[in-house]
């Protein structure tokens, strides 16, 4: 039988094992995590600046950068695969980190190590010690009551002639980062669920008196009964409201109103008030007398060229090879009256019948002004402006990610509060029982925890008062500066 001998007694590992180990270490490394978050921050910054003029300023300052700036503006950062991959990597890293750290943290919580080493306490940057002439039991009880009065747990272990002790409080808060990081994953999951299973229609327009079906696999449709917009004396919009009836499979199931911060919910869909506009009920007959168009044309998805206050609409009539542009009167006459070249009155619309493709030379564009109720021949068509009505623009959305999102929010804020406001505090100590009495030495595990040290000093002073002695307290140094020396760090294993 072949004997496998391994140098140094370490079992040889297959390349696959090495690979897996590498990947695991990549995902558990906090150095890598910091790098990932930094990368994410940089991408978010790039995506943010894209929405501003800042890249252009750069290009103006250094024209050589222009091509780079152009591709920056062209890059949809948040929709890019790299961004998605980065989010996925971070999500995996968070999950792996959590799994990796849970046993150790659980250990600290449920079965903390009580035993410590003299060397560890001696080298500590911050410590307190005093001698006590009474019995060991007195000292132990006294210390225990000082710690428990500050909500610490207190454990002791006899090690040879010495009594080692360990005290901690807020141990559960150590778990706070788990719900917090889990929440981050949930937010991503919520986003994915919403985009895969949900839908969102931002331009769902319904004219007064009309019914539109929602689609997206639902049997819902919406009828707009009335649209109202209120204004303040200064002319600022104070409220928009759509009164609607919702139909399911053709049956009216809900009546209600939708306003800007008051969406309406029905079944899976939620309706939000978006914008509104004027619509023009038009009847268009072709040369043969056949009716080509009999609908409410929603105005305002286009503007009249040269006057942004004049809402316009466009009807394409491919069968005739023409399109009809319709312009309604200026909605804000006070603003730039010079642009209002059409000078339409209410009850009038301006129309232009033009060839569908601009290259078609056979048909000359014809324009006319229609008066409400009076049919007019324009080119080959007969147009009748029946009435003006209003339409509302709703957003229809179904977001199955909402419950996930809510749970995530609670976990996020709750987890942060637990970690930050109930910091884990720990103290280790040794009581040496000698011929001349007991010597107590203790140190807080409070690296970079000013508040923890402060609490420690005050407890040490309490102990001094209680045992009628003045403890020797070693404070950081007189400036309170750190020694960032490596030995301290590696000893302080539990803060990692």
């Amino acid at each position: 039988m072949a004997q496998v001998t391994v140098a140094n007694g370490t079992p040889s590992r297959s390349p696959v094992e090495i690979m897996i180990d590498r990947i695991w270490r990549f995902f558990t490394s906090v150095r890598v995590a910091v790098l990932e978050i930094t990368l994410l921050a940089l991408m978010v910054l790039l995506g943010t600046l894209r929405g501003s003029d800042a890249p252009q300023w750069m290009a103006n300052a250094a024209p050589a950068l222009q091509p780079l700036v152009d591709s920056w503006y062209a890059w949809d950062v948040f929709g890019s695969p790299i961004f998605a991959i980065l989010l996925a990597v971070i999500a995996v890293a968070i999950a792996v980190c959590t799994v990796n750290r849970l046993p150790a943290i659980w250990g600290t919580i449920s079965a903390p190590r009580i035993r410590t080493s003299k060397g560890y306490i001696e080298r500590a940057e911050v410590k307190a010690s005093f001698t006590h002439a009474g019995t060991l039991d007195e000292l132990r009880q006294g210390m225990e009551s000082i710690f428990t009065s500050r909500r610490y747990r207190f454990f002791t272990e006899q090690v040879g002639n010495d009594l080692h002790f360990y005290a901690d409080k807020n141990r559960w808060a150590k778990l706070g980062t788990f719900p917090f990081h889990l929440a981050l994953i949930l937010l991503l999951v919520g986003g994915i669920v919403a985009s895969v299973y949900g839908f969102r229609d931002t331009n769902f327009a319904v004219a007064e008196g009309e019914t539109q079906s929602v689609g997206h696999g639902t049997d819902l449709s919406v009828e707009l009964v009335r649209f109202t917009d209120d204004y303040t004396q200064e002319g600022i919009a104070s409220n928009y409201e759509s009164e609607v009836v919702i139909y399911d499979n053709g049956q009216p199931v809900e009546e209600g109103s939708i306003s800007v911060n008051g969406p309406l919910n029905h079944g899976v869909a939620t309706f939000y008030q978006g914008g509104f506009g004027i619509s023009v009920d038009l009847l268009i007959d072709g040369a043969s007398g056949r009716t080509l168009y009999d609908e409410s044309l929603e105005m305002g998805f286009f503007n009249f060229r040269g006057n942004p206050d004049a809402p316009a609409g466009l009807i394409r009539l491919p069968s005739e090879g023409v399109q009809v542009a319709v312009v309604a009167p200026d909605t804000d006459r006070a603003n730039r009256p010079d642009l209002d070249t059409l000078q339409l009155q209410s009850g009038q619309v301006w129309v232009q019948v033009a060839p569908l493709s601009t290259s078609d030379p056979d048909i000359e564009p014809v324009t006319a002004v229609l008066d409400q109720g009076t049919p007019l021949e324009v080119g080959d068509l007969t147009l009748l402006f029946e009435r003006e009505s209003r339409f509302t623009v709703l957003q229809v959305a179904y977001n199955p990610g909402i419950p996930i999102f809510f749970i995530a929010s609670v976990l996020l804020v709750g987890g942060l509060a637990a970690t930050f406001y109930f910091p884990l505090r720990r103290v280790r100590g040794i009581i040496h029982h000698g011929a001349g009495g007991n010597t107590l030495t203790m140190t807080p595990l409070a690296k970079r925890d000013w508040g923890g040290k402060k609490e420690f000093f005050s407890m040490a002073e309490r102990a001094g008062e209680r045992f009628h002695t003045t403890p020797t307290i070693k404070r950081p140094d007189h400036e309170g500066n750190w020694h960032d020396d490596a030995s301290q760090e590696s000893d302080d294993e539990e803060t990692r």
Binding site: I236, A237, V413, D484
Partner: protein
Amino acid sequence: METLVQMSFYSFAASSLALGVASLSYMLYAVGRVRVRRATMTTSTGTTVTSSTADFLPGNIGAGQFGTLLTWFGGVFAFLAVLFRTIAAERLPLSNMYEFSLMFVLAISIMYLIFERIYGIRHLGAIVATIGFGMTLYIWSLPADLREITPLIPALQAGPIMTAHVSSAIFAYATFAVSFAAAILYLVKSKRNIRWLPSLEMLDDVAFRAVTIGFPLLSLVLILGSVWAHDAWGVYWSWDPKETAALFTWLVYAVYLHTRTLRGWRGNRSAIILLIGFAAVIFTYYGNYFFGGLHSYGGV
């Protein structure tokens, strides 16, 4: 109502003045006195060499105490300015740059005074009160018609959610200003060991504590903002530049928290991240000037 608006404005003016003088007093206190000693020597070849040495002496304690008093004044007057305006408008003043900059002045005074009280150090005032004063200067520079009370456009009328969203943002930014100040003093102190500045350890702790308040608040800002956006626009998150600017800020502080707790980074590098974080805060705060988008208050 007009009178209340006027009174609010006068209170603001008083607050501005108080904070201006407060920052000067704090600076006198924190910078200390510099005594320059000159020595002139004549060398054997006949040239004179002048050398000067600077001695830094602790600042005047009275100046620091005066700073505290004036910051209290600044805070109380900012509170009155907000109060009068709240009564006049029947809502918290959070709807335009004038209004929430006013709230910011109040928030920064409160947060600063809390930290001053807890840690018993006044040196941060030299920076924080100056930021507060700078904000009042910005308010002065705003067009006067923003001081009029105008009704809210529909999308901003989200009541409690909008109020909570914007006030969390203001308090988050105010606490980040405190951590920014601590980071600066940290860098100064670690470069030149100026005796009377607070210890590095305490400065690091001040900065960290401030972030532990600011970071959850900023998380709330993002959450409430998306709830609000969801109600008003039907989307939680639309990658609007103002949103992503806040997200960027949040990520910078996440980097700070990770490096601080985990990598045992020395304070200097942590402090530099805090400077970047506060730059991001300023960028987010004044984002309206750079971006269009939903948050431009341009209307629906």
